[in-house]
Symmetry: C2
Subunit: 327 residues, 2 copies
């Protein structure tokens, strides 16, 4: 393949416990080529970095040349953009603090940035998705946990230690459900995937006379509950209505302090669509500060789920100079 001379591309890497995906991405967010390998096969992080480096070199040499790559961006759980480290990741095979950015930079001789999932998602949405060109917005990612990221004046707000955005662990029901973090009433215990299932189970107990398709399902998940909604199941609809109400009220508080142009929802649970977002939007408009009513857009991510993380990582790569100036 022809060699490209200008540094017109980046490499985006997405690390999860199971799988590492890496791709060459151009400045418009086109994925030129993408591959993946098992993260779990490399419990020794030095061997992991050696493997990832070898694969990046092979991929880039076969696709426009190593010289065409400007920088590398990495999305990983528990990654801290300010330190370039993965810090005490509960969901990865490597324990403690791993200086991943420095390790990879030393091998490849190019700038490397790492950031956590929510930050990377926000960068991707701003570069290529629903938040394109916006200066002030919030990302709310709804999955097993509830994450968030703030854009302020066109940049991610990292906070003092890089821990900003823990929306899932804000207390939304005083003395409410017990959360894994040790506190009670965290948003995550109502609007994370486990919380939604608990709400469904509570409703089935409370309304023991109401028939429900959910009663016959052994392993309830937010997706199964969504399917029941689509079939008109009353308690399933009520489950998402309750979830949406708490979500909308909580997002309203967040918006009243941040005054964002839009709130962009991503993550598996955002696929529940109208069953979740209609009640959420109603509760949002009811609770948000009056000067902001009717002004803030509720948006779904427009980036495909399977592309979100590498595209976000590539957006981080494009912005690396700005971030390295930060600290």
């Amino acid at each position: 393949m022809e060699k490209m001379t200008a540094k017109s591309r980046v490499v985006g890497v997405d690390i999860s416990n199971d799988k590492t995906t890496y791709a060459i991405v151009d400045v418009r967010g086109n994925i030129i080529v993408r591959e993946s390998f098992s993260t779990r096969d490399y419990p020794n992080v030095n061997e992991y970095v050696a493997e990832l480096s070898k694969r990046i070199i092979e991929m880039t040499e076969a696709n426009g040349g190593y010289e065409s790559i400007r920088s590398i961006g990495i999305s990983s759980p528990s990654a801290n953009l300010m330190t370039g480290c993965i810090e005490n990741a509960a969901n990865l095979i490597w324990k403690g603090v791993v200086p991943l950015a420095a390790m990879l930079r030393d091998r490849l001789g190019m700038a490397v940035g790492v950031a956590n999932d929510a930050h990377v998602t926000a960068l991707g949405e701003q570069a290529f998705g629903s938040a394109h060109g916006m200066q002030n917005f919030l990302i709310v990612s709804l999955g097993y946990g509830v994450g968030s990221c703030i854009f302020s004046r066109g940049k991610t707000h990292l906070g003092n230690d890089g821990f900003a955005g823990e929306f899932g662990h804000t207390c939304v029901v005083p003395n409410g459900r017990q959360c894994g973090c040790g506190n009670r009433g965290c948003l995550e215990t109502y609007c994370g995937s486990r919380g939604i299932v608990i709400t469904a189970q509570e409703l089935m107990q409370e309304k023991s006379d109401t028939p429900s398709l959910m009663r016959n399902i052994e392993h309830l998940t937010p997706h199964v509950i969504y399917d029941c909604c689509e079939q008109g199941d009353e308690l399933a609809i009520e489950t998402y209505r309750k979830t949406g109400h708490i979500l909308g009220r909580s997002v309203a508080n967040y918006a009243s302090v941040m005054d964002p142009e839009a709130i962009i929802f991503t993550g598996g649970i955002s696929n529940a669509g109208k069953w979740l977002f209609e009640p959420a939007h109603d509760a949002f408009e009811q609770h948000v500060f009056h000067n902001l009513k009717g002004k803030i857009k509720f948006l779904r991510s427009t980036i495909e789920d399977r592309e979100r993380d590498v595209l976000g990582a590539s957006a981080l790569a494009w912005g690396i100079k700005e971030y390295s100036l930060f600290k």
Copy 2:
């Protein structure tokens, strides 16, 4: 007095419904001279601007010369830094939208910035007070209302319309007390001055057998309740304990999303000292995200109440170039 040639000073102006205070301030936050006049005497805003301009010229000519002034910063209720306007101020004599920055700039031929009380307080604390040199912090101002301002990466976070920071109107007790804004359970209805008095009255009713100094006082205020605390009054102490608990839990949510280095409390109610801040800090540490426990400083403003607004306005004046680049 000797003429100064370099533009080494600014003028800070603080507008309230009653009074306009204006001062010449140097780069270290020393107030060279300060004067004031009645705002209410000028219901016509054109006449007000003419008077203020005349007074600024006179003051500067008598103190180092007009040429020594670099720019003018103004603190006003309902002022929007992004538009330079006072917008529909409920608490000022002028109605509608007043383009104050442009009006004054046209008369004086120098850069003028306006911003609301909370923003200006934050700028003052960062330049001259408790937040000196900090990049990420929160200001929480406790008075009749509860205001706030966010510093992100060394700059105020304004939000999309300049309305960011409405912490007082976040819902902290679902279906709680009715707020003037139309919603229920706003933080302000518990931790603003009226809310504190209501809590005291509720406690006196609930615990009708408990004696209290507060029962003999016709016109309860947060300050009077504080005096009762100092005399060991059980219900007065309980009033601030309850207020502090709600404040601490709410500030914890705010901190969990913002990850600030410090939270700086200003405003009259912050004078309640330990009666308010000990329970507030306990509730804060209990509720904040676990990675942040023990890390975030609780600080009181170190700027004197009577100097806060003109000093903040002068900090705005020093930073005007940065802000005018923003939009």
